[in-house]
Symmetry: D2
Subunit: 334 residues, 4 copies
């Protein structure tokens, strides 16, 4: 393990647009604190409200991810635990936009309609880290509002199994564009290792987002990310799972939302039963009364829902041999 | 307006299984405090864990609603505001169950599968009003858990327009089995008046439920309900809307969940734009960052999602001419 | 049974807009030939391409059905077999239209979008019974095309069970707006009797339609209908089923289409197994290779798919005790 | 162009399990007749009804495709037209099966349920080329049936754009596991070229299949395929399209089926308008009355629907500069 923490800047050499299919740009070691920077989803090309993404960006090359990082010791069949120690937006502005034929309330290439595209428009947000706010200004009229700053990562994933390569804008079992607001500092994400070295990459920082990412674009910011990882050997994972100090979640990824809801809950029921000894129907019943189900996005090629439960229901039982607790300690946050 | 508050008990004469198609059992007046009792969704027929609903209940006669109540002055084209002043579970136990071919993780008559039904099982919950808890006991093993008591009404609605009559277990534009956890004491629900007198009915009390009502059955309890209404004349409503002291919500009702999400947000965008002067795209953008989307149920013939926003974003503007504020004052709760 | 065949004209007294909730306008007897006329879905109010439905029709009062007819001897728990002896479009023109926010390729109240409505436009079709054609003329340019005349009934149903009343534009287990192109002369439809007398009503004649009724409106015509019925006592039916001389079908009714597909096939597998003695998995396998699945509509509040099989696979076994064969003979068609 | 027709056998060196991510195994030239063999979807490992696929196959390595073939001259932005000259099943048996948690009427990883898997079972079919039949034999009882032999290719595609690699079992814009019964000898498929050389691969021959491929497995056979290609330079294609002597189709690929229906029809409307000069709404209207919509599969990670129209409606206009007509002539079939 190296003496100095890695810092990986976001440069054309260190970012890409896929999970899988690229050579690692660095090697990281379990337990090491890794710092890296991510570009915003526009690759930094939107710098004023006149910069329409469809003109300044080169489709489909959106949503750059920094990496991939070779994780020392990770092998197919393992689970990679990625703990987010810190997420700090870079700079004092964030950007959002409506895109042509992208979003939950517009015709898209799949939910195809005969309507012309909605107007493409860009909004600039003010990031005030000191006050913990994100400032919205209407494009028409003088309405403004201050929202809570809640930094999160939209996209985090590894190379898929079976030789697949997916665009970074697609969520899947390998992670990717999960867009779940639970992915904040202090959270640990569990992903299935698909190939040797896992090939972790992250990007798509959000200063905040609403549930479902309604128009398809959050408050997009470059982000300084501090993370650390653990490899849980020989423990497979079927769906991305997420753990915080208080919550345990399974992330369903599917269309329609119904199936994201179903797969997330089926996975969480299995996990709850394993950790508590409840039988399947008892776990189903308990989650029916105690579960939450937060919509991540309903705009990508696959939609996401995080089904979660309060860890007090686990009476101290820990998934993945306590990986979150150990990584939390390494992160050094209170 | 009468001197004494109405109290309407739940009896075979005062409960029914439809919205529309029944004669009013009482008349209520705007501003009057109305107290009534509701049966649980099983009509009180489940009294032990040996009482399997498929045996003790007579399908499809589930989910009884108390009423309907003729609302003085309500006419088609008006909106009925129903404010829940108090919800008190009756007794010290609640019931839940798995039903054959009902729930989110089983084949159903529409999401038809070739699998035999899951096991039918009944759970008894302990309602502890003093401590504010709902106690779960596993049917196998010795696992128990205390969950927070969060009384809500699953079903509240009026007679549909255009002569339709719907079973009480179905949610729709007329309200019905909305199953949204936001429907607690202190909330005001806005419903479109479909026929003269509105014909309000309520039922299906829950001591609490998880998001999406995973197995299709919450912690079902009889409930003492105190409510009061206001008729907002000549103001139509397209979807049920809900207001609390801090939140404003539109309730989308559709399958798949995608469409519940879409219709709820499209409605809330229109409402937000009307109340603030934001143009449609600004409202779309703001809600994309600031909105929440809570799944009510994903188990009925139609699914529900409540899209909501924090009322601080309205800067004091009030929907429905301030009906919630007036009804809140009438309710006399702090 | 009366001597002369009934002829029931379509008049304000004999048409309505619901299944259930109305008094019978006539009594019919099993085996009797019944003749009646239906209005087109616009109630005859569209008479030129300048008559925009949103202006000349009074929403939601569309899709009038002639009836209801009291069927002598029909009781809940029975199945009503309705055989279409003849369907003859009335007159020489048919009408179609785009409606605001209705159709498969536009935002609708449930698949809500922020787009303004598509243009509302009306098309007149020429019905040429002698040549068996339906003539399309483009509204812009000089393109014309002759399509095959294939008269069918869009809407046929009985009063729902459990006291429900549904608008005639909604399909359901009770039948209603099924919009399946299989509903032509020579077909027998099987519906569950929900209340005494069944209360059959029919309407929404189509000179023809494409699969899925893409824009939501077929070539709409008034229709002269000759039908005859049989009551199959004490045989319940879960989904509408349809039989012709060569095909046997189950009609799935749900959203999304996936569930219409699933429920139709699950029902047809059960029927196939019952009639042939195949076990469930063998019937599943056979239908996987031999089945067809025709989309009725993807535009109404519920979508429909008819799963069907070739009756040669039944080796002479007959559903419903041979009702189709008997009714076919009564119809007197070759 | 070489003198002798290429014949490419299916061997471990010439088959793979992805579109993209593999080196070409041969080069083909536009206009050349290419012959190749494909393995069945089980890779030939099912040889008796005792060979359960979950035991004899190595998941997820199913659905092998022969290739990829470098197409001389194909560049991103072009369209590749692939004409199927001949499809001849190899041998006299075909295989089908139920797979655990795969198919339309069982819980799957995405439409997750708590039910245990349905029984895994294998069926052997007799392929009788002389009589043009496929013989079904029930696994229980003595039921048999002869179905029509209708050879088709389930899977045909090119390398995706933007560096993606997809498993061969997934359908997408690049083609892949389309499973449409229209893909028979005599059909031309149009695919977007994603990378230099296109990298065409084919596999998954079916002796026949039902609409929707209900249980997820057709009558699976190895196939001798004769095909020829044309590169249509600088003509992009958004969705796979298919042309026969009488039909023109767009293939929608999405979940739920609704979106497959929508995207297929939106694409076909654009094509119809381009070819005839009809405006968009006229084309929408015409297709509403004249279109067909055949479900390919409802079992893969994405579902497929082919929206089609009769080419007589085009009055001689030809898509893709007449590629189908030219390729048809090359194929030398009557």
């Amino acid at each position: 393990m190296p003496d100095d923490p890695l810092f990986l800047d976001a440069t054309p050499a260190t970012v890409g647009y896929t999970f899988g299919g690229r050579e690692p740009v660095a090697t990281i070691y379990p337990g090491e604190l890794v710092r890296l920077r991510t570009w915003d989803c526009f690759g930094g090309k939107v710098t004023s409200t006149d910069d329409l993404p469809s003109q300044v960006c080169q489709f489909p090359y959106l949503n750059p991810v920094t990496g991939p990082l070779w994780v020392d010791g990770a092998r197919p069949g393992d689970t990679l635990a990625v703990h987010l120690v810190d997420l700090t937006p870079v700079g004092e502005v964030g950007w959002s936009a409506t895109f042509p034929h992208f979003g939950a309330l517009t015709g898209t290439p799949t939910t195809a309609m005969l309507h012309p595209a909605l107007e493409e428009r860009v909004w600039q947000y003010r990031i005030d880290a000191a006050n913990g706010t994100v400032g919205f200004t209407a494009s028409n009229g003088d309405y403004t509002a201050e929202l809570a700053l809640q930094p999160m990562l939209g996209t985090i994933g590894v190379a898929p199994a079976a030789g697949e390569v997916r665009m970074s804008i697609v969520p899947g079992v390998h992670g990717g564009n999960l867009d779940t607001p639970l992915l904040t500092a202090g959270a640990t994400l569990y992903l299935p290792v698909g190939i040797d070295g896992a090939l972790l990459a992250v990007g798509d920082g959000h200063a905040r987002q609403g549930e479902g990412e309604l128009c398809g674009v959050a408050v997009e910011v470059p982000m300084d990310v501090t993370l650390t990882v653990e490899v849980i050997a020989d423990v497979p994972t079927s769906l991305p799972r997420l753990e915080t100090d208080t919550q345990l979640a399974s992330i369903g990824i599917a269309r329609p939302l119904d199936d994201a809801y179903r797969s997330a809950h089926a996975d969480l029921i299995g996990l709850l039963a394993d950790l508590t000894g409840l039988d399947q129907l008892d776990a189903y019943q308990l989650l029916s009364q105690a579960g939450t189900a937060r919509i991540g996005n309903m705009v990508d090629k696959q939609y996401t829902i995080a089904a979660s439960l309060d860890k007090s229901l686990l009476y101290g039982a820990e998934p993945y041999r306590g990986a979150h607790r150990r990584l939390r300690a390494l992160g050094g946050r209170p």
